[in-house]
Subunit: 263 residues, 4 copies
Amino acid sequence: MANSKYEYVRHFETDDSLLPNTWIIIRIDGKGFHKFSQSHKFNKPNDRRAIDLMNHCAKAVMKELHDIMLAYGQSDEFSFVFPKWSNLYSRRASKLVSTVVSIFTANYVLAWPQFFENVCLAYAPSFDSRAVCYPSDQNLRDYLAWRQADCHINNLYNTTFWSLVLNGGKSEQEAEKALCGSFSKDKHEILFSDFQINYNNVEAIYRKGSTVIRLPQEVTYVSAKTKELGTRIKKIPTAVFEDIISPEFWDKYQLLLPDTKGK
Amino acid sequence: MANSKYEYVRHFETDDSLLPNTWIIIRIDGKGFHKFSQSHKFNKPNDRRAIDLMNHCAKAVMKELHDIMLAYGQSDEFSFVFPKWSNLYSRRASKLVSTVVSIFTANYVLAWPQFFENVCLAYAPSFDSRAVCYPSDQNLRDYLAWRQADCHINNLYNTTFWSLVLNGGKSEQEAEKALCGSFSKDKHEILFSDFQINYNNVEAIYRKGSTVIRLPQEVTYVSAKTKELGTRIKKIPTAVFEDIISPEFWDKYQLLLPDTKGK
Amino acid sequence: MANSKYEYVRHFETDDSLLPNTWIIIRIDGKGFHKFSQSHKFNKPNDRRAIDLMNHCAKAVMKELHDIMLAYGQSDEFSFVFPKWSNLYSRRASKLVSTVVSIFTANYVLAWPQFFENVCLAYAPSFDSRAVCYPSDQNLRDYLAWRQADCHINNLYNTTFWSLVLNGGKSEQEAEKALCGSFSKDKHEILFSDFQINYNNVEAIYRKGSTVIRLPQEVTYVSAKTKELGTRIKKIPTAVFEDIISPEFWDKYQLLLPDTKGK
Amino acid sequence: MANSKYEYVRHFETDDSLLPNTWIIIRIDGKGFHKFSQSHKFNKPNDRRAIDLMNHCAKAVMKELHDIMLAYGQSDEFSFVFPKWSNLYSRRASKLVSTVVSIFTANYVLAWPQFFENVCLAYAPSFDSRAVCYPSDQNLRDYLAWRQADCHINNLYNTTFWSLVLNGGKSEQEAEKALCGSFSKDKHEILFSDFQINYNNVEAIYRKGSTVIRLPQEVTYVSAKTKELGTRIKKIPTAVFEDIISPEFWDKYQLLLPDTKGK
């Protein structure tokens, strides 16, 4: 039962390595999360537990894959940014795509009870994942802007929609009809006039999504030699809720894109 | 904050759909499972709980993705076979690769306590995943034969190795040395002479790996009309532990490869 | 001026090798041949010199690339069939695509004066080229059927159109209008009633296109030893003008697809 | 004989479009040009007619494909640079690869008699072709530097080798042996001491290869209105023989890479 006569089948694998010197984005998306959020009674328009869990998983991915420079998440999706110089898994698309989604998924299920106390996971949630390359820093920033603008548009809609339903006594159909064809300013107006909500005061985590970057943080450690406690600075994946479209963000965290100056 | 000016970034996604009319294999592999099995004190040479958990996850994948015809697993890997005619996710490689690995991983973590009672999951296990196309039925069978021959070679080695260590009083280094350069028949001989083990009597699940196919099974149901209990035949993903290299398997389950006759 | 510091740029080349064990078709298409045929006053509806030149070039490609099993041409296109087992240029798509089109183009220009006596080549004609893989024999036959059905449809139209224009005294616009929405049988009828042409008697080279296969032929040679003339059988790329859709062709030339029986 | 039942075969074509916003290089290489140059008695170490013909063909390609910004040629190869923003043929690799090589080949055969008077083309020469993407301007310049460094290394070797053979009375084997393991400065020394050749005075076209760029040139035209002769400035593909490794070239022709300043 020698293996050699079958080994020819290995040559059917194709090389799917991604172009060098480009930014690699791995984006994961929840599979059937509309149904999943209903089954597990997520709060509307946003469930803070669900967002915190997503962010926890993104950090776990970044702790395992050190090349990742930044991750941006909103709703049931998260995008992971590998720098141009990364050679992780020889830049093979399927390795990157599958490893990121698998680490994320495992942590989602494992950490669920921490974030959703007293809510049993009714079934196994899953995500899909894809890889896209961006050659220039501008392309990368436009990609992230695309996702954050999407977050804004959806969150403004959802905030208004659920205000109408939960506090305005409308049915879901009525709310949908009321918002059909409405502009951004109309939604701001409804929120303000009917529900005394200034949208700009809604918590940033909902309006801006979560950006996980490695920020220096003081950590405590036990010296191997002296057995004494000490502190040192370590870079820890940390979620911030900022505007990543405007140049200020990139000026502030200049190490992310050293060549750009947020222009 | 209109989204449209950033939408051009979508066109950087490349089409990774797989050639039509070919068998698609998605194979997942445990990431760092040597360490994972040690951390969780897996029994040696095989841990039945771990194998049963793997098979449980494979069945879960097949219950969610109905196109999958067969799955073959051994050690920390599982291969899923999509038929030539499958058009799931328009045959996009990254979608297939990521969805299979994510469903598998989620179920692994979720079902862990069922299979490993009293063993806490110390950290999140993960898998990678890849896609390979095979044009002919013979290629497909040779692929599966390759994995089963690999299972055989490794299991014979591991069974002998751990007999030497656990029952023969050898250190791991000594056992490794004793087996270095040994042939198949030498290992059979050591097992038989030194440990009274006839390798061919080792349970098939260890020697042959697990093949999950959809077998007809009588299932009980409650009639929607009469509220009475009834039974009907349903095809349920079921693990068998057979030789899939020899033609008998393919003759027996002819529906799998209708054009072949196990030749 | 050492080369080594720049050599990293080689790693940006991606592996474009085609899936093993599939039929490879390389199809070339004339670039701007509508204008080219007008500039060089090709006869209408078909110019025998142009077809003969195309066939000459296809044979030249097959004489240089021995793996090619069959070529099928019509109008300004030619498809070259590489067998499943071919490993020419390690099956790299760009190598196959470029080599075939370059040999074809070179021969087209070089042999032009032989076929178009007294017609000067006004400018350099060119072709594009693409590669497609087909996993099964049936896919291959359907591909060829697709091209031959295309030949039939276009030739019936063109034959009728140019009869109306050249012999029926219609302008091109009038002829186009007359044929707009017409069925196959209508065109047969026009040809027969108005121009006494039984379309089925039109020469097969126009109705069926050209299929170039390697047919055994007696060739004369000079013996190296005895310096005497001898004859032997050699397989020579030869154009036939047959129906390649129906099974008879594949029965007749069974060596082309040994596993099929033209079914 | 409807075509529709076979049209499914179109879906086997895969999308091979190249990543947007990257430089595309199409490089063609002579196929078997060692033999071709011998068959046609090319002068050694360089045949000016052959180089002029190559440059003529490169210009012809650039006249037909207006997106091409620059072409660099040496020996039997030519690289064509498409700018990042080019969307020619939707950036499909096989279209670009095949069209460039076909136009080049056609012009090579067509213009041969102009450049090689009294030398008959014994057979059809051909080229292969490939596509590579480069994300950054620095990558592009390093690619071109790689080819020009290659030109330098080969030309220095060939110049010395053929001096030894043609003027030094050595056989080809002896010359090869004499140069085996020699450094650049050794070859300079041999040329200078034995043959009174200062390599740096060898014509730049041989030492530097040919770079074809679109340079403004005064062209004469006949006014459509007045029928009078006029002159205007037009950008014409023109060969220069400069050092493209050093920044001076990119400073001089800044329009080529507006963002770089030859740094």
